[in-house]
């Protein structure tokens, strides 16, 4: 479980997050939705400690993360897996070496055990015969899947995904979404996904938090979202003609 209390962050006197409080539950896919520039990525980066919040607290289970020194923070980070918007695979390493990286850095596994874990993770994300390819030789969807494989290599307790479907076609989007949901349930981890993709919300949004201009505007499940009377959320969810027509049909 991850708890955020009264988090605020500004850049050059521009307030990006305002007094944000929320609890993300374990074993569920928690989605943060909102328009581009609403503060989703900043929130995620404040939670994992890549940005220092101006005010507020972040708790990883019972541990107050903000107060820890950099060494103790690093220990928590070893339990975090993160999927970045662009994948953030290491360019100079092959697929296999990317997944090997955290194992090499933080485990005492022997070569055989490491190989086994790499192959397990790559199989888990349905990547085959690509062990020796470089990230530049992979499609966007494959890069995201390899990034997931790398993120789960150390069996994390927390998984963060920053717009995992950006730049992907609808089919690949469904593959990535399902993968994130399956992994969350399988490992019983706390997963937080940043997205503005409504398909993802409907597919995997067990808990959905809507962020608007840096503040928490609404929270609920994907089932509640269609019936909400929140004006800003409605404008966001039913922004396209397709979703508008779907709503007209259902009502």
């Amino acid at each position: 479980m991850i708890t955020v209390k009264n988090l605020s962050k500004s850049f050059n006197n521009i307030q990006v997050l305002r007094n944000f409080s929320v609890t993300f539950e374990r074993g569920k896919t928690n989605l943060i939705i909102g328009e581009s520039g609403s503060g989703k990525t900043v929130l995620l980066k404040c939670i994992v400690g890549l940005f220092e919040p101006d005010e507020g607290e972040v708790f990883f289970d019972e541990i107050k993360y903000n107060n820890l020194n950099s060494r103790a923070k690093r220990e928590i980070r070893k339990q975090i897996g993160m999927l970045f918007q662009g994948g953030a695979l290491f360019d100079s390493l092959t697929v296999e070496e990317n997944v090997l990286f955290p194992l090499e850095m933080f485990t005492e596994m022997n070569l055989e055990e490491k190989k086994e874990q790499i192959n397990f993770c790559l199989r888990r994300v349905n990547i085959q015969n690509a062990n020796h390819l470089y990230p530049s030789e992979l499609s966007g969807g494959m890069q995201k899947r390899v990034a997931i494989a790398r993120a789960i290599a150390l069996n994390p307790r927390y998984l963060f995904c920053d717009e995992p479907n950006s730049g992907l076609d609808p089919k690949s989007t469904i593959v990535i979404d399902n993968l994130i949901k399956e992994i969350t349930e399988e490992y019983n981890i706390t997963t937080i996904v940043n997205t503005h993709d409504m398909n993802s919300v409907m597919e995997i949004g067990q808990k959905v938090v809507f962020i608007f201009e840096g503040s928490k505007e609404w929270e609920g499940s994907n089932k509640d979202i269609l019936d909400t009377d929140n004006k800003n959320l409605n404008e966001f969810v039913f922004a396209t003609n397709l979703t508008k027509k779907l709503k007209e049909k259902t009502t």
Binding site: K45, V48, G49, L50, R74, E75, I76, R77, K78, I80, G81, M82, F84, Q85, G86, A88, L89, F90, D91, F101, P102, E104, M105, F106, F160
Partner: protein, 246 residues
Amino acid sequence: MQFFYNIGKYFIFLGKVFAKPENFKVYYRQIIKEIENLGINSIAIVAIISVFIGAVITIQTAINITNPLFPKYVISLTVRDSILLEFSSSVVALILAGKIGSNIASEIGTMRITEQIDALEIFGVNSASYLVLPKIIATMLFNPFLTVMSILVGISGGYIAGIASGKLTSQEYLYGIQYSFVPFYVIYGIIKTVVFAFIITSVSAYNGYYVSGGSLEVGKASTKAVVYSSVTILFFNVLLTFLLLT
């Protein structure tokens, strides 16, 4: 004010770079990799430039010594001391600042803007140390070999040019490069090389590490890396010369 801000930030950055590594085995492998990337891959350019500079110094000195009272071996003596004292350490360092400095800044800068550095931090890795320390150690270990090689190749280039142009005989050249030789000049050159290697790597890495924005900023960081490391090299060249030779 910005100058002092950057100096302070640079030293904080160095503090992060020299923090205790998470895994020595991984760092050791990185050092070997960087020796190949930054050191072995620079052998050809250093050799080519050294041989031509050695040749040019020989010809220019021969042309400029018109007084018949000067013995011919003064030409090779000049070549030796120019190469030992200045060319193989300082000029080669400036060339390497252009070659490996821009390489380091753009590599680390690209990693920054594509969130690869964030990914390292999320893994709990000290990204500054992991990315920069192996490069610093690799260049500080390998660049002295480049300097020694540059000295040998430069003097050989001078020999070839001197003999081929008929400006002096083989005997005169060999006599000149041994005449009144000060072994400390080699040590002086190597000390400068080690200091310059540290400057090139750390200043360039600093410029790449704090890039924000996109590819345009990576390009700017790469240019800054070359300019700042070159200026710092020139400053320390004077300082070290003053400290070691006076």
